[in-house]
């Protein structure tokens, strides 16, 4: 008989009490590590003076030029070191952040032909800190009291504004491309490591749970503020044409990933050809673009994709698990080949479909700058609204009879049937809703790019979308957005690694599965 109880994790028994000096040394590990982190931050990081003139950002690498200039990743290291020294609970996340920052910079410096000096010291400090943090006894969870509404609103406002700043800073971290800053990729990754460490520290002190409890209590207020903050992004440092284009692409993929999250995350149906629905929406809208206004084209794209969702879903009802994955994989491949060969003259084949007009509302084309805002801003706003709508769909369905039936199917299909769930119908609805969202995103995709070609919908895109869902957290509402943002901004940031993209994603997924199987955003 299976008892189905959660496995009990046995901690290693505490090390036996050591006599005198050894015990003192062990207890001194954490403070020593914190000091070492600070020292590492202030040491020179590169053995050679990198060509600085043309790249002002590289100045941060040259300790000797500006010994008191603690900026960029060094500032982050100092902050993490101070946190580790002063806040006992912060040690573990700070250690992970320190290790990440050190590793990233060492790797890049090596790539640039320089030996790192501060790097190994900081890495050692991070490892020492992690060792010290792991040896500490587990602490009870921190619970913060819920404040009165006025204070809660203020806290939420500050929290979401900080989130907006963080998103804007992350997006622009490391600059636009290799042309202006060869060190951009490292700066971005290191900033990401710092951001995750800060989130870890806040979580260790119960701040994240506190904020999320408040936002749950003041749901409408939170949603309004969050949406407002998202729409404010064009007014931050990310408000350039380039970043707006990147951000609206992320929005398109995020909405698609949310649709996939319904199919995979809620209903547990592994779909390996999902990007085809994005493609169907995009080609539908592209073909209609000159004939009908955007809302009609978008609706047509969504409906067509939804219909295909049902068509693909129906024959797959009889197969489960691995077989379903294979059938959907085949569908994705059929779509890709059909589009490549311009079946029915609908996809333009190798020539793509060019010249799709930009979205045009009241004679105002969406690609033109308006009122001091850069050109892509309104595409960004449309994609924010689309993502918000998709999140609402996921959240509302999740808390309904339909959503619970999906979860039940994911957990145990036979038992779901024994509870009266008509599993076939429920699965078709999952395919329908997911594909419709992807189709809608596809329509925006087509208009935004102005051209749609089959290459945008190959297998690796499906895999990336799936990775985004798993990385972010299966079945959670913000998970797919977080995952899609990371996975679709990273290639933008790390162009020099584009050949290794899938390999790096694979690595990231392995790490996630090992250390945080519930994904970055967990549901409980």
């Amino acid at each position: 008989m299976t008892l189905d109880r959660p496995p009990v994790r046995h901690r290693k028994p505490a090390a036996p009490e050591l006599p005198g000096p050894a015990a003192v040394l062990l207890r001194l590990r954490a403070p020593a590590a914190a000091v070492l982190v600070l020292a590492g931050a202030l040491l020179p990081w590169a053995s050679v003076v990198l060509p600085g003139g043309a790249y002002p950002d590289l100045a941060t690498l040259q300790f000797f030029d500006a010994p008191h200039l603690v900026t960029g990743f060094r500032l982050h290291l100092v902050l993490l070191g101070l946190a580790a020294a002063l806040l006992p609970r912060a040690r573990k996340p700070a250690a992970i952040g320190v290790i990440a920052i050190a590793l990233v910079h060492m790797a890049f410096l090596t790539g640039l032909g320089a030996l790192s000096i501060g790097g190994p010291v900081t890495l050692a400090a991070g490892a020492l800190l992690l060792w010290a943090a792991r040896a500490e006894p587990p602490r009870p969870r921190m619970e913060l009291k819920t404040p009165p509404p006025a204070v809660a609103w203020l806290v939420l406002l500050v929290a979401f504004a900080a989130l907006l700043w963080l998103v804007s800073a992350t997006l622009t971290a490391g600059g636009q491309s290799r042309a202006t800053n060869p060190y951009g990729g490292a700066e971005f990754l290191a900033f990401l490591g710092f951001g995750l460490a800060v989130a870890g520290v806040l979580s260790a002190y119960g701040v994240l749970a506190w904020i999320s409890a408040m936002s749950e209590r003041h749901r409408i207020f939170s949603i309004a503020v969050l949406l407002g903050c998202a729409l404010m992004l064009p007014f931050t440092q990310a408000g350039t044409g380039y970043w707006m284009t990147v951000a609206s692409s992320i929005g398109v993929y995020a909405a698609t990933a949310i649709g996939l999250n319904i199919v995979v995350g809620l209903a547990g149906l592994l779909d390996l050809g999902y990007v085809a629905f994005l493609g169907i929406g995009a080609f539908t809208a592209a073909n209609l673009a000159h004939a009908v206004p955007f809302p009609v084209a978008a609706l047509a794209g969504a409906v067509t994709a939804g219909v295909f969702g049902v068509v693909v879903g129906s024959p797959t009802l009889r197969v489960r698990g691995d077989y379903l994955a294979i059938v959907t994989l085949a569908f994705g491949e059929i779509f890709f080949r059909a589009a490549q060969n311009d079946i029915g003259g609908l996809t333009g084949g190798a020539n793509s479909i060019p010249g799709i007009p930009p979205i045009n509302v009241l004679g105002l084309a969406f690609n033109e700058p308006v009122g001091g805002l850069p050109g892509g801003s309104r595409y960004y706003m449309i994609s924010v609204l689309m993502v918000a709508g998709a999140m609402a769909v996921l959240a509302n369905l999740r808390r309904s009879r339909t959503g619970r039936a999906w979860l039940a199917i994911r957990e145990d299909e036979d038992v779901a049937r024994a509870m009266g769930v008509r599993t076939g119908r429920a699965k078709i609805v999952a395919f329908l809703v997911g594909a419709t969202l992807a189709g809608l995103a596809g329509a925006v995709f087509a208009h935004k790019l102005g051209t749609v070609g089959y290459e945008s919908f190959d297998f690796s895109e499906s895999v990336t979308l799936l990775a985004a869902v798993v990385l972010g957290g299966m079945g959670t509402v913000p998970g797919a957005v977080v995952g899609a943002s990371l996975l679709f901004v990273l290639p933008e940031k790390l162009r020099e690694f584009s050949d290794y993209r899938l390999m790096l994603f694979g690595l990231a997924l392995i790490l996630i599965m090992r250390f945080r199987p519930q994904g970055l955003v967990s549901s409980s």
Binding site: M1, D4, P6, L397, R401, R404, L407, A418, G420
Partner: protein
């Protein structure tokens, strides 16, 4: 509502798990099903709840043949629990019970998308009922604990609450006290009585003969796939065939 297994046989390859079994589940009663391990009790449950299609014979619900489809059986009021607990372990206790209520909740896809007033009313009703079932089986009505972190005994109770939430006419319990201690077993016995008092027929598989003979209105003894004896507890207890075939085995300790 009467549920009838009529000359049901079930073979898995060469292994005959059920051999020409006939069983009538009348209205408002507690029916006990006993028999040694491997006798085919769970297989009979699976046939009665549409999980298995019998190799021959048929299952009748109010005179109509029951499709081999658990979802249809559930819709027609046949609910069950499982011998090896099968909860939706990642979902909260309350959500588990809400899934049990699935067939009785009326919500269209559109209303679920927009959470309008009609949706909220139906959802509130369902939640209220689910909480009532949690309280009925003796669990915390808030139900926000994930099913997997409940204690073993509470998981068994949660399975019963989930089955009750669908307004069943017949509730089939597969070894509801397996792995429980004395006081927990007593509590389950009281619970089964309370379920019968709600007008629900209970079919229960048990190894504890004292439990069965004191609680049931009818007892069926299944041995090696055949229905050996059926009748009121007194008659079954004293039947020489039962004493030989069943009580003669290791199960007679109680």
């Amino acid at each position: 509502m009467t549920l009838i297994a009529e000359n049901v046989s079930m073979a898995f390859g060469g292994l005959v798990a059920l051999d020409d079994v006939t069983l009538t589940v009348p209205d408002r009663a507690i029916i006990g099903l006993i028999g040694p391990n491997g006798a085919g009790k769970t297989t009979l449950f699976n046939c009665l709840t549409g999980l298995y299609a019998p190799t021959s014979g048929r299952v009748l619900l109010d005179g109509r043949p029951l499709e081999a489809d658990p979802a249809e059986a559930a819709r027609h009021g046949v609910a069950r629990t499982f011998q090896n607990i099968r909860l939706f372990s990642g979902m909260s206790a309350l959500e588990n019970v809400l899934v049990g209520r699935h067939t009785r909740i009326k919500q269209g896809l559109m209303s679920a998308l927009f959470h309008g007033p009609a949706f909220r009313r139906s959802e509130a009703e369902a939640v209220e009922r689910a909480r009532a079932e949690l309280a009925f089986v003796g669990l915390d009505p808030a139900g926000d604990t994930p099913a997997r972190s409940l204690s073993y005994g509470d998981q068994r109770r949660l399975e019963i609450a989930r089955a009750l939430a669908g307004d069943p006419a017949v509730l089939m319990l597969d070894e509801p006290t397996a792995g429980m201690n004395g006081s927990e077993t007593t509590a389950i016995r009281t619970l089964i009585g309370a379920i019968r008092d709600r007008g629900i027929t209970v079919v229960v598989i048990e190894h504890d003969t004292k439990f069965i003979f004191s609680l049931c209105d009818h007892v069926h003894v299944l041995v090696r796939g055949r229905m050996l004896v059926s009748g009121p507890p007194e008659a079954v207890r004293t039947d020489p065939r039962v004493i030989e075939a069943y009580l003669g085995t290791t199960e007679c300790s109680k």
